[in-house]
Amino acid sequence: MNGHNINSKSGFQWLLKMAWRDGKASKRKLFLFMASIIMGIAAVVSIQSFGDNLKKNISLQSKSLMGADFIIDSRNPPNEQVLGIMDSLGGPNAKEINFPSMAAFPQTGASKLVQVRGIEGGFPFYGTLETIPIAAADNYQQNGGALVDATVMLQYNLQAGDSIKVGEVTFPIAGSLKSIPGSSGLFSSVAPPVVIPYRFIKETGLIQKGSRLDYEFYFFRPDIDLDILDKKLDPILDAEGADLDTHTSTSANLGRRYGNFGKFLNLVAFIALLLGCIGIASAINIYIKGKLRSVAVLKCLGATKKQTFLIYLLQIAVLGLLGGAIGTALGIILQQIFPLLLGDLLPVDVQLTLAPKAIAMGLLLGLFMSVLFALYPLMGTLYVSPLQALRVQEVDRSRSRRGLVLVSLAILTFLFLFSFWLLKDWKYSLSFVAGIVVTFAIMAGLSALAMKVIKKYFPNSWGFTARHSLSNLFRPQNQTLTLVLAIGIGTFLISTLYFTKDLLLAKSSMGTDANSPNIILLDIQTEQKEAVANTIRRDGHPVLTDIPIVTMRVNSIGGKSVNEIRKDTTSTINSWILNHEFRVTYRDSLIASEELEFGEWVPKVTSREKIPISVSDNFARDAKVEVGDELSFNVQGVIMNTVVASIRTVDWGRMQLNFSIVFPLGILEEAPQFTVLTTNVPDENASAKLQKELVRVFPNVSILDIRQILVVIEGLLNKISWIINFMAFFSILTGIIVLMGAVRTSKYQRIRESVLLRTIGAKSKQILKIVSLEYFYLGVLGGLSGILLSLASSQLLAFFVFESAFTPSLFPFLVLFPGITLLVLLIGLTNSRSVIKSPPLEVLRKEAR
């Protein structure tokens, strides 16, 4: 008997033919399976595609983002070496000094924290200075006018021709500034740009000791090799306290920042896809169970194990590919929404094109994930004995358990590989996979526990319809677990978003009592301190804190100078330690946001030899220092030798001044310094009045109104959470499709049951009540599991990560939970219409066809 030859003749074509023949009879069922993954694929592809487009556009528009080919910048006026380097490059084509400062509007008396940009030269060389009127961009320097951010113009009802006072100088407003290279992102929302001619900067009187200045020198050199320039000059400039930024490196950094957010969104979208795949697994499980008899018959007729397996595998693979294709197409359309959602958070105008990588990813994901998740149920066909054509037989469970383990490992490996491809970090990827497994396991556990509890404490005293619908949750071939997972995970994601947003906002909010500062005054010179404090007190407000600030740079670490460390290619000390100008304070005690981790706190010293300082944990980590290690600092020309006496953990998230380095009392009192004062004002009017008074008398003092910053942060968080919500909503949508699939799959079973009930006398109203209650229970179970899990995880986040109290938002309870329950109920009822309305015989006849 030459069996091989006989069956190989049938070959792949026959398998496809059989897959098609069998599949076309189950079109609607299979379409719903496919729909389960469409939403998830669409979500992932839309993020990936938009992210690719954004990266491409940032790269293409990098020159216009910077306005030049490269910049040399410094926090101090460039020294001789830096000037020499710039001369050797042919000299800068434009220059700028920028710093935050208060600006006053004489017409209205209002004032605002702005980013003053004093520009000279033809900047920008790429991109545009977009102004209204257009001519203002060309003539503001010549005419000595100011360009004011468009939002500020709107906010303070300003027109071209009005005045703006910056420091001691009042400028006519030449025009409204719509966009300028180098001004975007969160900081521009807090301190929007005001552009003035460079020549007036000194006159403003705002260049003082301790001012936070940025000196920028713009170079227009389209033919220069930026990589070589960067490699050659950057280390030299770093040593002189300056920095070289090319348009390519800046855009790469920007791309990375947005890329990180995109990765996070992709992971959220991936969860929607996972849900869809769980829906597939559950639906295919029931689908295959219904095919086992046919498989047995095929085996009787001579089909091999492999052939029967491949018939259904082909069906799933084609569905997966088709679902991937539809999901990809939908995702490409959906990405159009992101520019609308992100708005001015985007640094560039994004031209959307087809991203081949995203398309390929969508198709492959559809194929692989469908096959992977359907594999275990499909393996059931391998274990079917042809004897099942004669009688029902028990499946060999030991073989199928092995298969379950193998398939589970394959799925986990795929999850890990996909997240690693996204995150490029094996630790994060493992954490993500572990997080998913734990979340799904807990959700499944909650569902199983609920079922157990219901079974154990079954309410026998309830009426028939309520009891019957409850027991339907654990009927044979129920899909309760799948549905609770699908609904629960979506609810969990959205609830967690709301709770986390609340945590972040609570974290950054100031206290409402009079002892919590809500106004911070920066850049107060020593000789101004008393007068500023008196102004605050005169207005009836307290001076809460008086923080001295001394600027200094690291000179050496462990006896090695920073220049030596820079040249040492084996050094692991972070470059920001070597290049940064630190703002340092001195005091005798810790503050609320600090906790001593190692060493001993020294409040005061008299000796200037080996000054015991306290450093923050992140400083210690990046500078590679421990308690007892020695550092020296250049304090504006004076070298101070210090030793690390203690290391503090600092809660940088708190809205107050925190410091990487703290000196004890007795050392820096005579050093050149400026002061930060804080106060508490009761309301916006009091804040405006105080600001107006301070800006009038002390124009160099910058004023941070924490309330206004919080508004900006809240706006940003709302925008971000909108986007995450949008992604998480895909999970809900997927859950709905999975629910519809589950309802359809069990439809015949329900019909038979309803028909039987009606035959023995149940009224339509009673059937309706049974069906309604069953879906109501499912909605409640799924929604509640999701919210409870979200509450627990948010509480843990609050306790361990944010170290703050947690007051949950009401939205998940009042809107999400009832909304989800209602949705599940509606979907269930809509798909069960025929069950409820039709007469028994008609229903049976219809189903028989």
Binding site: I6, N7, G11, T304, A389
Partner: protein, 229 residues
Amino acid sequence: MAKILNVNNLGKIYTSGSKKLTVLQDITFDVEEGDTFSIVGPSGSGKTTLLGICAGLDRPDSGTVTLCGTELGSLNEDERAILRNRNIGFVFQDFQLLPTLTALENVAIPLELRGDKNAIKNGMELLDKVGLQNRFHHYPSQLSGGEQQRVALARAFSNKPSILFADEPTGNLDAETGEKVIQLLFQLNADAGTTLVIVTHDLELAAKTKHILRLKGGKIIANQETTAL
């Protein structure tokens, strides 16, 4: 006449939890080529189990089965499938047509499995033979019980089997339809020269075959030619 089926000292035990149930014990018999053979007995006597083992659908716990010159115990599952496709036809009590395939497609499957390029054409001829020339493209749910069983007969004979196993072929049919189906079965059998093994509790049907094997409690209590009963 050559022996097409030889069963020697066959035994089968089913395990249910901790209990062992002896379904068949010391079964030995032969079936000659071209013969018509029935296996009768009350419910639970092991007839369907015996049929399944003889057809290579299941394995005995003891003894041997030699079918078409091949000892079935030496074959793996795929080899058995190939043997079934080449040499064996099946007729089931509940027809066992594939519900998602039309009547014609159901009949053509065994032919397609062996790579017959004229599977559809041959299928049409067979359906014609059983009087279903107008039902090629109907699905099983659109056919009556008798029509379904006729499709099943056509399918069973499609690969010109050496032996055909029928498990209660008229069990789900009314008497009149059942009679027609049996006539068709024997006619096709005579035309094709196939050996016929029927499991039935219908003694009238059994009487139409040449040999009857009678089972009770998993053991043979009689193995005779029909004229002797």
